[in-house]
Amino acid sequence: MKYHPFGIVGDLNDKSQSIYEEMKQRGYSRRDFMKFAATMAAFIGLESSGIAQVARAMETKQRPPVIWMHFQECTCCSESFIRSSHPIVADILLDNISLNYTETLQAASGYQAEKSLHDTIKNSFGEYILLIEGSVPMANPGYCMIGGKSAEEILNEVAEGAKAIIAWGSCASNGCVQSAKPNPTKATPIHKIIKNKRIVRVPGCPPIGEVMAGVIVHLLTFERLPELDNQGRPKTFYSRRVHDTCYRRPNYDAGLFVESWDDEGARRGFCLYKMGCRGPVTYNACGITKWNNGTSFPIQSGHGCIGCSEANFWDSGPLYKHMSSFPGFGIESNADKVGLYAAGAATAGIVAHAIATNIRKNKILDSNVQNARDVESEDLDIQ
């Protein structure tokens, strides 16, 4: 176990061990191991034959070296990960991370820490998995600077030799809250800096622990990235909207909506759409995997989804209204209000125009009237 002020560098000296061997040492039984393999296979959406694949991979393959970097973040991704339902995830997959976490904060600083990171990069160049939590501040190289290197330089250096790069959470995937307008630190997600490698993006604030574990297990088992969508998100977890897996959905289709937090509809569990629920525009696995060992998820506890796994969710407010406010017209404005004013102005314009036309009618219609044949007056003319 080695430390770096930005994070934890996985154990490299102990290369011979597979995950199964480590588990045995820690006193897990074969039965625990198989249960774990089955759980993970289910999470990543394999058929039952996939359980054997997962188990074999963890029996035979060495645990790859892992570097977990922290930039501008709140550490909720780490928190979520180490609390994922299966203790083995935290215990074994990333070795000692959970145990040494507090030590990380107090860890050696200065030269030693730098050297440790450097050694990892050098000794397992092209082999380590890089996990990144947090966005990179680009406004000023002084922000997050360590050992005289800006966050961007550190990232570029670490990313170069990485076998796979995973951006944990909305910070690393989309910039998250710190990149909300006006984004004072110019918080930038990883894929906008590292352009020559495919970045796996696992958004969410935080992402679900089981989803994080699932992505890593997939990487270990198949030694390649899981299938990704066009935003780089693993399809297994991010191809469906929260809305499509929400147990309140029948109320949505029935048009039964909560109108205020304390009404009869709220008590009866109606749909939270009109309270600003972002489920219809949010791709995440909350409705299926749920949170805290499958206990519940926000909508189940009566609060709408805030769309935490979507880019710019922080600027798509107000969070408790269905419609976004209209940029430049204040918080309470939305497309309908602006549209109604515009329609009102148009109506006024049309009415004014019609009145003006009628007042000037004779002049405007002059040529038409003059050039047209008005039989009645012609007849009068003759008589």
């Binding site: 289709d253 029935a254 759409y273 219809p280 976004s324 309908d336 109506t347 049309i350 044949r373």
Partner: protein
């Protein structure tokens, strides 16, 4: 006596007036007119159902959700109308490229010549300052109308893209994927939704002004503007028509 009388009329009239003889010209063929009215129906239905999607009325029901599906049905109508709307516009766009007559072709919508820019200026003066337009020589749409239909078409395409961008979460179809993927550039479906909603207002504003202006031009010019989109025929001053043919166009 009778002959004398007619002579008298015409000579009397002629001395006082300069008759404007109109030429009847078939400008909008059936497919274009069908497109127009199908479009009007779709826009109406999409705007009503779309508005309800954004802001459904409050109802409290004493039974459970499974007994009702009105909101689902409303969305269903929106999607069906959305498909008809899309196919209808796709048809009109293709018609304008390859099949339509000279007044239905896209060339007629985009002001590429100086003469058309001049006409735009004149129509603007006519519409805004209520000036008399002596140089309104177009036979199909006037140059300004044509240009706004072209701009409208761009808005419609964006509306269709954002609509399918929201639909993509619901369907696996390849047409949906094709029309929906441009919206992924926005990065966030909340914004796609906002844009889709906002564009509805742009269309509604266009419709208000459009309907008013066709009435205005109809009454001011006396060329049968409104009936042209129903019957296909417009009435053009013979002078303009002769000039048009004379140029060999």
């Amino acid at each position: 006596m009778k002959d004398q009388k007619t002579d008298m009329i015409s000579s009397a009239a002629r001395s006082k007036m300069n008759f404007r003889t109109m030429q009847r010209i078939y400008v909008f063929q059936i497919p274009t007119r069908a497109f127009h009215w199908i479009n009007v129906l779709c826009v109406t239905s999409l705007s009503i159902t779309g508005y309800l999607i954004a802001d459904p009325p409050a109802i409290l029901h004493s039974t459970e959700a499974y007994t009702l599906n009105w909101f689902g049905f409303n969305r269903y109508i929106h999607f069906v109308s959305g498909w008809v709307f899309t196919v209808n516009w796709a048809f009109r766009i293709i018609w304008g490229f390859f099949l339509g007559n000279r007044w239905e072709k896209w060339k007629n919508f985009i002001p590429t010549t100086k003469a058309r820019w001049k006409e735009i200026k004149n129509v603007l003066l006519q519409d805004i300052l209520l000036a008399e337009n002596k140089q309104h020589v177009s036979i199909g749409h006037n140059a300004l109308a044509g240009f706004t239909y072209f701009l409208l078409t761009s808005i419609i395409i964006l509306l269709i893209f954002t609509g399918f961008g929201l639909y993509i979460g619901i369907s696996d179809g390849w047409v949906v994927a094709l029309l929906g993927w441009p919206s992924s550039w926005f990065g966030n479906e909340m914004f796609v939704r906002f844009l889709h909603h906002l564009l509805m207002w742009v269309i509604l504003l266009f419709a208000m002004i459009h309907i008013y202006l066709v009435f205005f031009h109809d009454s001011v010019e006396g060329r049968g503007e409104i009936s042209s989109i129903i019957s296909g025929w417009k009435f053009i001053e013979e002078k303009i028509w002769r000039n048009y043919i004379g140029k060999g166009k």
